[in-house]
């Protein structure tokens, strides 16, 4: 059996037909298969956490260790995993509704802790599994059953927020571009520290107005300059119908990781050991 097949499960896939989540799943499988085939990691070295929402169904479709968490809590649960075993390769899947509403405090603090893990954030600017209510990144005026008067507020810009919170890795990718996703996921997993990837994706059922941003996207070179990063972060405001949307590694820098800062965890990391064997 090839590695990608080993990552399959028996669960019935219940995303809508044509949903970009299918492509995200494919890209994640490809990325992990590449890393395992290259003998960088074993399948068992990975542990995932997922939030609650459409994105989170990926938990059932990946044969990897992990926790299907509570809504908004995929990040702290993942950080707990890293404290519990710093040798695990942890990947968190979460949505714009979960993280930017219920879990926003965890998002900000995650950059401060800088645990060596990856956050893949599926942003479709909609709470889709609960039938399309606005999220903090929904565009102004978005009307839903919960917001028939239209969303009054301007959306949050999570990339700018991540920069302000001293993120060490920020990237953006397109859910319709498997090649680009694999490239970005691979770079994010290789990054030493907390890597945050925003995956821009359409929802085929709710907030259709926000869809179809592909033509506006353009690839940027891997960037390590904070000033340039700030400029790139401002280019897309999650609201305007026009203007370019940069994708790629928007910012990367090096800071000590959570596992390096705590002597107790550093010891486990250096010895490739766990608390059980302390």
């Amino acid at each position: 059996m090839n590695m990608k097949d080993k990552l399959k499960t028996e669960s019935e896939i219940t995303w809508c037909p044509g949903c970009p989540n299918h492509l995200i799943l494919e890209s994640v499988k490809q990325t992990i298969a590449n890393l395992v085939d290259a003998k960088k990691f074993k399948q068992e070295d990975f542990a995932i956490t997922t939030d609650i929402g459409c994105h989170a169904k990926i938990f059932d479709y990946l044969n990897l260790s992990g926790i299907y968490c509570l809504h908004g809590r995929a990040i702290p649960t993942a950080i707990g995993m890293k404290i519990g075993n710093p040798n695990l390769k942890v990947i968190t899947f979460a949505g714009d509704g979960a993280v930017y509403s219920e879990g926003i405090s965890h998002f900000i603090h995650a950059f401060k802790y800088n645990a060596d893990m990856t956050l893949i954030l599926h942003d479709n600017q909609s709470f889709s599994l609960t039938t399309g209510q606005p999220t903090p990144t929904s565009q102004q005026g978005y009307q839903s059953k919960a917001s028939p008067l239209g969303t009054f507020d301007k959306p949050m810009n999570p990339i700018k927020l991540a920069l302000a919170a001293n993120a060490t890795f920020i990237a953006r990718t397109n859910a319709r571009d498997i090649k680009h996703m694999v490239e970005i996921f691979t770079k994010a997993i290789a990054h030493k520290g907390f890597s945050f990837i925003e995956v821009i994706q359409d929802c085929l059922i709710f907030n259709l107005e926000a869809n179809g941003k592909d033509a506006r996207m353009y690839k940027v070179k891997d960037n390590t300059d904070k000033k340039i990063a700030e400029k790139l972060a401002s280019e897309f405001d999650y609201n305007s119908k026009e203007g370019r949307i940069p994708i790629g590694v928007i910012y990367q820098t090096n800071e000590p990781t959570l596992e390096e800062k705590w002597p107790q965890l550093k010891k486990l990391l250096d010895k490739k050991s766990t608390w059980k064997n302390k």
Partner: protein, 507 residues
């Protein structure tokens, strides 16, 4: 023999240092001490006091009448003068005001002289506590020489150790090889966090302060999932925030131990005082129906033992263990000659990520650990959680002390109580025809309780809450309503003499 000493002053004056020095020396001299700390939610100023109770036999409470009052400020005299016994002694800080920051050692000196303890004992204690002790020794001698020996305490043989409930949580956790304590600060749980944080590297564990209690509890679950031995701790408000994670523990069955140190609510309440009003929330917090264990130790010795049991049960039965304490247990300093039996070795035997593919979920799951909405699997999972509780209960009934009986074992007068109130009850019934049933396991509740209640003619419930929460729990489980209730809910714990007076009216 029993003496009560009140030491009062403004926050930051060092009243805790006075009682600490005197307690340590008295313990070394073979005397039992109990130190109650009454302090306000402020850092400098206000009015704080300690009541240090001393006895030649085991005590676990303080009393209302003071033999000695040490007043570091005028307000202490005004507030507590009425509590001074007829021939009581008042010591003021006034005469030592030139001692500056050594005022507290000078006052410790006067106290020890009055008690009749040799000066050398004080000198030894000061040398062990202060790096530069020269000036402190001079102040101590000044204090010592200013008074006469009034009580002439003789050295006793007892081997005494002093411990607070918070320190006991840390000792119990370390005895069980705890790896991680993940928490957010909240009085009165924070001192357990401090006790574990101190020397954490040497003790081979880690104390992590999360961004809030929600994060702390979810991080604890994440870490526990990977095989670390984990605990979190908080007080009522933080426990409310953890509720969703407790429920998550119910479905995911990731072992979790929570230390709940309660204080008077609702809301922010009276944050630095005490109450036993969170039994209900400990028993029920979290939506859905799932297994849990709630243990309420009454003193530090029990806290050490029960903390280890909580951690053991959480891992063995993949359940939620709650250690329920309160401010009075957490922050009072108890003395004892008892030793704690060795804890059962906490071993992690389950499959772990890193070694195998392991899944845990907040959804109902199939055999692979993936989500299911099947009605057969849903029902199966619900049944398995209930069966797990029955197994946990049977194990506890067989292996652990769930209740304790104190006082006259054949008495028909039965006092029922729990947690930190136990100390005052034990001391209050010393001269009464009464038996005290101390409930330690609140969930599961011991089947022996019903038999004890049936044997008694006169049952009295003593609790520090307004609705009699243990009384309601016992009624739910046994059908027996306890008619007499002594309830206190002003944020202050029972004094044993106060309780003795109430009980005498009924017994």
């Amino acid at each position: 023999m029993r003496l009560n000493i009140l030491i009062g002053g403004v926050a930051g004056q060092g009243i805790n240092k006075v009682s600490e020095i005197v307690s340590n020396i008295l313990a070394d001299y073979g005397y039992f001490t109990f130190n109650y700390r009454d302090y306000q939610s402020l850092i400098r100023g206000g009015h704080n006091f300690n009541v240090l109770s001393i006895s030649d036999t085991q005590i676990e409470s303080h009393e209302t009448v003071m033999d000695i009052i040490v007043a570091l400020d005028e307000r202490t005299i005004k507030t507590h003068n009425q509590a001074l016994a007829k021939n009581g002694i008042l010591i003021t800080g006034e005469e030592f005001k030139n001692e500056g920051r050594n005022l507290n050692v000078a006052l410790a000196g006067t106290l020890l002289k009055i008690l009749g303890i040799p000066l050398e004992k004080l000198n030894e204690e000061i040398k062990s506590q202060f790096k530069e002790s020269e000036q402190a020794l001079i102040s101590a001698k000044k204090g010592y020489d200013s008074k006469e020996d009034e009580f002439s305490l003789k050295q006793l043989d007892n081997k005494i150790t002093i411990l607070s409930g918070s320190e006991a949580i840390a000792v119990g956790a370390r005895n069980s090889n705890l790896d991680l304590y993940i928490a957010y600060p909240m009085t009165p749980a924070t001192n357990a966090m401090h006790a574990l944080a101190k020397d954490q590297v040497e003790n081979n564990l880690m104390v992590f302060q999360a961004e809030n209690e929600i994060a702390a509890a979810n991080m604890a679950l994440g870490a526990s999932f990977t095989g670390a031995r984990v605990m979190t701790g908080t007080s009522g408000g933080g426990f409310d925030l953890m509720s969703e994670a407790l429920s998550f523990q119910g479905t995911s069955e990731i072992p979790l131990t929570v230390y709940l140190a309660s204080r008077p609510g609702p809301g922010t309440g009276v944050p630095t005082y005490t109450a036993q009003a969170d039994l209900d929330v400990a028993l029920r917090a979290g939506h859905g129906e799932f297994s849990r264990v709630v243990i309420a130790p009454g003193n530090p010795t029990e806290t050490i033992e029960k903390t280890s049991e909580a951690l053991y049960l959480a891992e063995k039965f993949k359940t939620l263990s709650i250690i329920l304490g309160d401010k009075h247990l957490a922050e009072s300093e108890f003395s004892t000659t008892e030793t704690v039996p060795k804890a059962l070795k906490l071993e992690i035997l389950r499959k772990l990520p890193g070694e195998a593919i392991v899944k845990a979920s907040s959804y109902e799951i199939d055999k692979f650990g993936n989500s299911t909405e099947s009605y057969t699997l849903t029902e199966k999972n619900v049944n398995s959680r209930i069966e797990k509780y029955e197994k946990t209960k049977a194990f506890i009934e067989k292996n652990y002390e769930m209740i304790k009986l104190h006082g006259k074992k054949d008495s028909k007068n039965l006092i029922v109580g729990w947690g930190s109130t136990s100390g005052a009850i034990k001391d209050a019934i010393k001269d009464l025809d009464a038996k005290f049933l101390q409930v330690i396991y609140m969930k599961p509740l011991s089947s022996k309780i019903k038999k004890e209640l049936e044997k008694a003619n006169n049952i009295i419930l003593v609790e520090e809450n307004v609705t009699g929460q243990l009384g309601r729990l016992i009624r739910e489980k046994t059908g027996i309503k306890i008619p007499n209730r002594i309830l206190k809910y002003n944020g202050r714990p029972f004094h044993s003499d106060e309780l003795n007076k109430y009980l005498k009216e009924i017994v």
